[in-house]
C-alpha cells in the first residue's frame, strides 16, 4: 500500500477503462499411442462382482492421459466409456426380464449390463435432458432405418461410445467443424469358426495343419487385444458450422465419415465437450470376435485348452462360435474390457493423430488507457537518475536548453488506497519526454 498524495500516481478516468470480449482458439492433438497405451489410460475399478470365481472388477469409465498417468506432470485428455440404450436391440435381446422395482434382469453370460444402461442414461440426461431418450445420429433424425447404410442400421444409437474431453483441453467449448478422429473400423482378422481354422482337430485347408492355415490367411487367434492395422477412416464434424444444431446439452453437430459425409456415425456436443459415437456405424459391428474375456467362471476347458478361473472364451466353436462385436462382446464384456478393446485396437498405437479439435476460451478483457501527457512522468526516482543530486540526463551547463526525460518499463495499476493490483511490463524501455505524450493500453484478461 502506498500513499497516493505524490506526483508519481495519476488518476485513471472512467472513460479510459473499457471492457471487451474475445475468444482464444487452441489446437489440440491426441496421439494414437496415448489412447492405446495402458500406461496412459487410467482405470477406476469401482465395479466388483461377487459369485462364481474370483469375480470381475471394472471401471465405469477410463481416462486417457498425455503421458504415463502415474507421473505428476500427466494431463487428463478425455474420459471414455460405453453405454447401451435401455430400449435398444442389444439390451432388449439380452434382457431376461424386469423385477418389480423396474430393475432390468440379464442372463449370467452378460456383464455390467445395468451399468452400461445407466451410463447411457446419465449421458442422455445430461445432453438430451431426458434419461430415457435415445441419441440419434444424425441428430434429431427420425427413428427409421438409415437409407445410406446397406446394413439397414437404425439412426437410433443403441450402442454408444462416449468420449468426454476434459475441460483442461476443451476449455469453454470445442469449436465447431474442427473435430476429426481416425478410427480403425475393423478389428484384426481372427479366423472364422465356420472353416474351423481355429479348432484343434478340425481340418482347415487340405495339406496344411491349422497353424499354417492361420498364418497364411492372416488369422491371429484372438482379436480382442490385437491392434488393428488397416481399415482406418477419418470421421469429422464437417458441415457443423454451416448447420448449427442445438440441444438441451448445448450446441451439437453430426460426426460423419470424411470420405462420405452422408454417413453419420455420431454426435459432437460442443459445449459439453462430449462425442457420442454409434458403435454399430463406427465399427464393423458384425465382425467375428474371439478371445478370453473376464467372467464369473471357474476354471474350465474349451476345445482342449484350459481356461483359467475368472475367464471365459468367446468366439470358439464350443462357446458361442459366431460371437460378434455387437451384440456379443458388448453384452459379455465388462466396460473395462470393451473400452480396452476400443482404445487399444481401434486407434492404432503409433505417433499419428488419433483425434484433433480446436477449443475455444472466452476471454473477458478490461482495457485500461493510461495517458501520460507531455509534462508528466519526465523525472525518475531511479538511483542512477542522479549523481550528487544532479539529474544525469541533463548535460552540465545545458540546464536552460535541455529537459529531463525518462524511460518507463513498467506500468502499475493501483486502487484508491494505493494497493498495487496489477503490473504491466513493456517489451523495451520507451522514451518519455516533455515533447511527447504516451498512452499505454493495458489489457487485463479474466
Amino acid at each position: 500500500m502506498a500513499n497516493l498524495t505524490g506526483g508519481s500516481f495519476k488518476r485513471i478516468s472512467p472513460q479510459d477503462i473499457s471492457n471487451k470480449q474475445s475468444t482464444l482458439n487452441q489446437l489440440v492433438d491426441v496421439v494414437q499411442e496415448d489412447v492405446s497405451g495402458s500406461a496412459t489410460r487410467k482405470k477406476y475399478q469401482v465395479f466388483v462382482t461377487g459369485g462364481v470365481g474370483p469375480g470381475v472388477t471394472s471401471s465405469l469409465f477410463q481416462t486417457v492421459y498425455d503421458q504415463d498417468f502415474s507421473l505428476q506432470t500427466a494431463n487428463p485428455i478425455f474420459d471414455m466409456t460405453v453405454g447401451l440404450y435401455q430400449s435398444g436391440t442389444t439390451v432388449t435381446a439380452a434382457k431376461t426380464g424386469q423385477d418389480g422395482t423396474g430393475k432390468l434382469l440379464f442372463s449370467s453370460q452378460s456383464l455390467m449390463m445395468r451399468e452400461k444402461v445407466d451410463v447411457y442414461k446419465q449421458f442422455a440426461a445430461n445432453l438430451l435432458g431426458d434419461a430415457g431418450r435415445a441419441f440419434f445420429a444424425p441428430f434429431n433424425a427420425p427413428s427409421t432405418t438409415d437409407p445410406t447404410d446397406p446394413g439397414g442400421i437404425s439412426n437410433q444409437v443403441n450402442e454408444a461410445l462416449f468420449v468426454s474431453f476434459k475441460r483442461l483441453f476443451s476449455r469453454d467449448k470445442i469449436k465447431r467443424e474442427t473435430f476429426a478422429t481416425r478410427i480403425y473400423r475393423s478389428g484384426v482378422l481372427d479366423g472364422s469358426p465356420a472353416t474351423g481354422l481355429y479348432e484343434p482337430g478340425v481340418a482347415g485347408t487340405p495339406g496344411m495343419d491349422n497353424g499354417e492355415a492361420r498364418v497364411l490367411q492372416g488369422y491371429t487367434g484372438s482379436n480382442i487385444y490385437r491392434t488393428s492395422t488397416s481399415g482406418s477412416a477419418i470421421f469429422s464434424d464437417i458441415g457443423a458450422a454451416g448447420s448449427v444444431l442445438s440441444s438441451f446439452g448445448g450446441g451439437v453437430g453430426n460426426i460423419v465419415n470424411a470420405a462420405n459425409t452422408a454417413e453419420t456415425v455420431g454426435l459432437m456436443f460442443y459445449d459439453a465437450g462430449t462425442a457420442v459415437f454409434d458403435m454399430k456405424k463406427l465399427f464393423f459391428w458384425d465382425q467375428h470376435m474371439s478371445g478370453a474375456i473376464q467372467a464369473m467362471a471357474t476354471a474350465n476347458t474349451v476345445n482342449g485348452a484350459t481356461i483359467a478361473t475368472g475367464y471365459s472364451v468367446m468366439g470358439a466353436s464350443a462357446s458361442n462360435g459366431k460371437a460378434q462385436l455387437i451384440p456379443d462382446f458388448l453384452v459379455s464384456g465388462s466396460i473395462d474390457q470393451i473400452v480396452d478393446h476400443v482404445a487399444s485396437t481401434r486407434f492404432q498405437s503409433g505417433s499419428l493423430t488419433a483425434a484433433t479439435f480446436q477449443n475455444a476460451t472466452n476471454i473477458n478483457s478490461t482495457l485500461i488507457f493510461c495517458r501520460a501527457t507531455a509534462d508528466e512522468f519526465n523525472y525518475s526516482s531511479n538511483p542512477t537518475f542522479t549523481t550528487d543530486n544532479r539529474i544525469v540526463v541533463i548535460d552540465q551547463g545545458q540546464d536552460d536548453t535541455q529537459r529531463s526525460f525518462t524511460f518507463p518499463t513498467t506500468v502499475g495499476l493501483h486502487d484508491e488506497f494505493g494497493n498495487l493490483l496489477a503490473v504491466a511490463k513493456m517489451s523495451r524501455p520507451i522514451e518519455k519526454n516533455d515533447e511527447k505524450d504516451i498512452t499505454f493500453r493495458i489489457r487485463l484478461d479474466f
Binding site: 500500500m1 512522468f377 519526465n378 525518475s380 537518475f385 502499475g412 494505493g418 498495487l420 496489477a422
Partner: protein, 217 residues
C-alpha cells in the same frame, strides 16, 4: 495481477477497482546517458535494456517510480540521509543489548539552496520485514502475506534549511528465538540475521534502502 489484486478478487467484495496508475523504470541505468551522451545513450537504453517480467509481489514489482513535477526545468532532485547511533556504512546493527535504534531521515539536496517544488516530502512509507523488526509506537498499515513485509506510515516532524523533510522513528527488534536464527541466519554466520528496510517519500517517490543486522547475542 499482483498477490494483492488476486486477494481482493478472491474476497469477492467488489474492492478490485483500478483507480490510479504509475510508471517505473527499475531496469534502466541512466549512467549510460552520461557515458555515451544523450543521442547515443538514448539509443542504447532503448535497444539494449532487457526488461524483466512482471512480479506478483507488490513490494518488489515497482521499486523506482517516475515523477511528475510542476517545474519542467528541475535539474536536481533531493536524496535522503540517515542517522542513527548504530548505523555504520549504511548498516544498522541490533543485538540483545541494543534492541532499538532511533533513526532520523533527512531530505537534502546538494548544489542548490532549496528542494524543488513537488518533491519536498511530508509523509513517508517505511517497509520492513515484520519477522525481525517493528516500528516502535506505531501501527502498521498493512502486511504482505507472502513476504511478511510490513508497511508503516510516518509524518515529517520538521523542515531543514533546504526545506527538506526530517522525520524520526524508532526501529525495534522483534523477539527472535534461536530457531529463527537457525532458519533465517546468514549462511556463513547463523548468529546474524541480515535484511533490508526501505523508506519511500510519499510525495517525491524517492527511496532510500539500507541494511540491518541482528546479532544473536
Amino acid at each position: 495481477m499482483t498477490d494483492k489484486g488476486r486477494e481482493l478478487l478472491a474476497n469477492n467484495e467488489g474492492n478490485f477497482k483500478i483507480a490510479f496508475f504509475s510508471l517505473a523504470d527499475d531496469e534502466v541505468d541512466y549512467n549510460i546517458i552520461e557515458k555515451f551522451g544523450r543521442a547515443v545513450g538514448k539509443e542504447k537504453i532503448s535497444k539494449n535494456t532487457p526488461v524483466f517480467e512482471a512480479q506478483t509481489v507488490g513490494t518488489l514489482a515497482m521499486k523506482h517510480r517516475l515523477l511528475t513535477l510542476p517545474n519542467p526545468k528541475v535539474v536536481r532532485l533531493p536524496s535522503y540521509t540517515l542517522t542513527a547511533p548504530n548505523l555504520d556504512n549504511e548498516i544498522l546493527s541490533f543485538s540483545a543489548n541494543t534492541p532499538i535504534n532511533e533513526m532520523t531521515v533527512n531530505q537534502i539536496i546538494v548544489g542548490q539552496a532549496t528542494i524543488p517544488e513537488g518533491v519536498a516530502d511530508t509523509t513517508f512509507t517505511v517497509l520492513l520485514p515484520d519477522r525481525f523488526l517493528t516500528l516502535q509506537g506505531r501501527s502498521r498499515i498493512s502486511i504482505e502475506a507472502t513476504t511478511r513485509t510490513a508497511t508503516y506510515g510516518i509524518t515529517a516532524t520538521g523542515r531543514n534549511n533546504a526545506q527538506g523533510a526530517t522525520a524520526q522513528f524508532t526501529l525495534q527488534k522483534q523477539s527472535i528465538d534461536d530457531t529463527m536464527f537457525t532458519i533465517y541466519g546468514d549462511s556463513n554466520d547463523k548468529s546474524t540475521i541480515t535484511g533490508v528496510v526501505s523508506i519511500i517519500g510519499d510525495q517525491s517517490g524517492l527511496r532510500k534502502d539500507f541494511s540491518f543486522q541482528i546479532k544473536q547475542t
